[in-house]
Symmetry: C2
Subunit: 192 residues, 2 copies
DNA sequence: TTCATTTCTTGCCATATGGCAAGGTGATAT
DNA sequence: ATATCACCTTGCCATATGGCAAGAAATGAA
């Protein structure tokens, strides 16, 4: 138990030993192989995951059928569709493994029990959600204030693993540009 | 008490009479006049508000000193800087009244007490936060998939009051375009 | 009312990025 | 080894939007 991966998430700074053990035992170990879907467009998200290893992408399909990357997730990250999980709505997003992954999964009902019974759990859950909100807002402002090249540089800093795991096109849609433009940006950066 | 504005927010579908009364009495009535700041860049948000009447804008200042609108709020809306309020960080945002306003204010410590003692309160708080996340994500995807003209049309649908309350330039930065471009878009729409 | 200030519109041209199509590169399967 | 396929790069030109500056319109102050 001491060396369970989730001890990094529910650590002794915030949780008593009893609490963290109780929480961690509710999680189910899941393995996904490359290209597996964790969530599909139209379904209600009934689980979320922490990634122990691997790389994951979420994406939305717009009205013309184009696939737009909305996020990338690597080891240590939480993978969750917040609106669908909490509002119990069919999602417009898809979540897909870009490499083989080991994840720890929790379902909605178990989440609710923990949320309403353990104060530290709900504090941490709220903090995590707000952190996601903050990251999304920063990306959103960056879309307005920064040029595509700068957004790409920022992304590389935040998620360097993207290079090995994600295709040019999938990165481009996250940045709001075409694969063609990103290819040109890469060329320019290589010459700098 | 029965006709208190906040009964619309903490209504009898979700709260017992005792709970909603307990909650509502913690809110403080605040009046703001046009151009008053509710929150300034650099401060930690220690309050949030529900708007009974009036119109409010939040905006961030980018590295070049440009002012970027991040949101608009009208009667019935919650006005809160989620990251600063919950992470207790100095904010990069400003919140300013665009008209005279009547608001109901709650502070962080009182929020915490209610959050941890009333289950329905924390459920609703979580729902509200997730709703904000959802709206932000939709705007964010729209920035990628939709042309400026369509984003403007969407905004008009969602917040028609914007026309009377917000300057062209402030709307433009929310849409991620210049005031010049928005002026041209308006001209095109008028000719349609 | 008059003046000053802010806000909005318009013209001219510049720039970032898109659309498309051709060709190149590299991985994988047989 | 070769064929296939997905992915990436590049050239040519198109389009959406920006930058700037002048003037028009609206707003607010005196």
């Amino acid at each position: 138990m001491e060396n369970h991966f989730l001890n990094n998430v529910f650590n002794s700074q915030k949780f008593t030993k009893e609490e963290s053990e109780l929480i961690i035992l509710k999680f189910k170990r899941m393995e996904f192989v490359k290209n597996d879907f964790l969530l599909n467009n139209g379904k209600i998200a009934n689980h979320y995951w922490f990634i122990q290893s691997g790389f994951i992408r979420s994406f939305a399909i717009d009205t013309e059928g184009n696939d737009i990357s909305t996020n990338f997730y690597s080891a240590g990250d939480i993978v969750i569709d917040w609106p669908s999980f909490f509002l119990r709505n069919p999602t417009k997003e898809n979540i897909q493994a870009l490499s083989d992954c080991i994840c720890w999964q929790l379902d909605f009902d178990t989440f609710q029990t923990l949320f309403h019974s353990i104060e530290a759990f709900r504090e941490q859950g709220r903090t995590t959600l707000v952190g996601s909100y903050f990251a999304l807002k920063n990306h959103s402002v960056s879309m307005i204030t920064d040029q595509a090249k700068d957004r790409y540089k920022k992304l590389l800093q935040q998620k360097p693993q993207i290079i090995q795991n994600v295709s040019l096109k999938q990165i481009a849609t996250y940045l709001g540009i075409t694969d063609t433009s990103l290819s040109r940006i890469r060329k320019e950066l290589a010459h700098e």
